[in-house]
């Protein structure tokens, strides 16, 4: 590249009026309000047979494959043991917040949202309600405030989550996630090192059926790996990112 080219590149980059960090976050009040507005609008569902729908492929096919291969029960298993959805009201259409789950105590994961001053109790006027853990139809773990007779899950047409949804494999991947988070936090980890770290961690926690997808394009602008967990697909994907975003 000539010096003239270098200068043109530099000038163009310096002319960038906005860095991503200056853009609003999805968790900002405006971002959250837009999200709620969008999901309350009707979706034009594609008229495909159910087995060709993306959700069905993600959730049903791997679950079925597992059931055949490993003898797992399809019911009472969480599709994503790394997250739990906390609902503000005992209704599937109420405001929801996804939080990370460590261990299998779903209620403890959501309860801080009702602490005085927090998202579901901003004025601190009401004590935290009793909570109920349910399993959504897609297999996601969910927590609702209890109503009346305390049979919230059934009232919503959902299974009660008993804690048995979090199996050994779930606990193991949670441990892997926690371990790797410590390695990747605030550090730029290159592809080769990231691949080795993830494989070691998977081995250490006995996750033999899992694979590492390192096919992303790592470049000089995006030299650092961040990790994306696909539990149904039993895959950890290394996503190339710039050094500023690697944490």
């Amino acid at each position: 590249m000539s010096r003239k080219d270098d200068r043109a590149h530099r000038l163009l980059r310096e002319a960038n009026p906005l860095t991503p960090e200056e853009a609003p976050a999805p968790t900002s009040p405006r971002g959250e309000a837009l999200f709620q507005r969008i999901i309350s609008s009707p979706r034009t569902e594609a008229k495909k047979p159910f087995w060709r729908r993306r959700g069905a492929l993600i959730v049903l096919v791997p679950a079925a494959a597992l059931a055949i291969a490993g003898g797992y029960a399809l019911v009472n298993r969480a599709s994503d043991p790394l997250n739990v959805i906390c609902f503000q009201e005992p209704s599937l259409s109420s405001h929801r917040t996804q939080v990370s789950l460590q261990g299998d105590d779903l209620l403890s994961a959501c309860r801080p949202l009702w602490d005085p001053g927090e998202q579901y109790n901003p004025e601190g006027r009401t004590p935290a309600p009793p909570l109920a853990a349910c399993l959504l139809q897609g297999g996601e773990l969910a927590v609702f405030p209890e109503v009346g007779d305390g049979d919230t899950c059934t009232a919503l047409g959902l299974e009660v989550a008993t804690g048995g949804e979090i199996g050994e494999e779930h606990r193991a991947i949670q441990a892997v996630q926690e371990e790797l988070f410590a390695h990747f936090m605030g550090t730029c980890v290159a592809r080769e090192e990231a691949t080795a770290l993830v494989k070691q961690s998977l081995r250490r926690h006995g996750l033999v059926g899992w694979r590492v997808d390192a096919a992303g394009q790592f470049t000089t602008n995006r030299p650092c790996a961040t990790l994306a967990y696909n539990f149904p697909g039993r895959t950890i994907t290394l996503v190339p990112t710039s050094s500023e975003r690697s944490s």
């Binding site: 080219d5 043109a8 002319a15 853009a23 999200f35 969008i38 999901i39 594609a46 995006r222």
Partner: protein, 178 residues
Amino acid sequence: MPSPVSELAFRRIYQAHFRQIAAYARRRLNEDEADDAVAETFLIAWRRLDQIPEGPLALLWLYAVARRVVGQQYRSTQRRGRLVSKLAGLAREDNSNVGVGLEQQAVHEALARLRPQDREILRLAEWEDLSPSQIAVVMGCSANAASIRLHRAHRRFERALLELEAPIELAPPEEQAT
């Protein structure tokens, strides 16, 4: 009522890419128009959730949608005769006397002189930090075509910049006065 699976899938996409799409829109439009464009982009994503590819390609899919939305928004603004749309860094021209140097003004002016396609491919490469193969996905062309277009756009940008800078850098003071 949306299914929890759809909503969760959409939330993941929204949380992962909202910032990049908001930045994309704000680099090209004023704040209010950009907010409208972001809303429209994600509304389309919500309605076409089944068509969004997995993984890093999702962001490119969103950029492609945002590009069309921003284009429509800009044309609509032009039609209304309100040139408040902030093309490239022209947004900064209003504030040109508060901190943007002559060199930066020349860059924005040079960008504004380019054809829209050239301008967009340069911004995708330098501002959104996309590689030619990623630009190809966003612009709906082959990676080879994207590389060639990017190269040509760079040449045209350099020429436009040189033309703008020539009187400033080369002309002696007495000639500038005449």
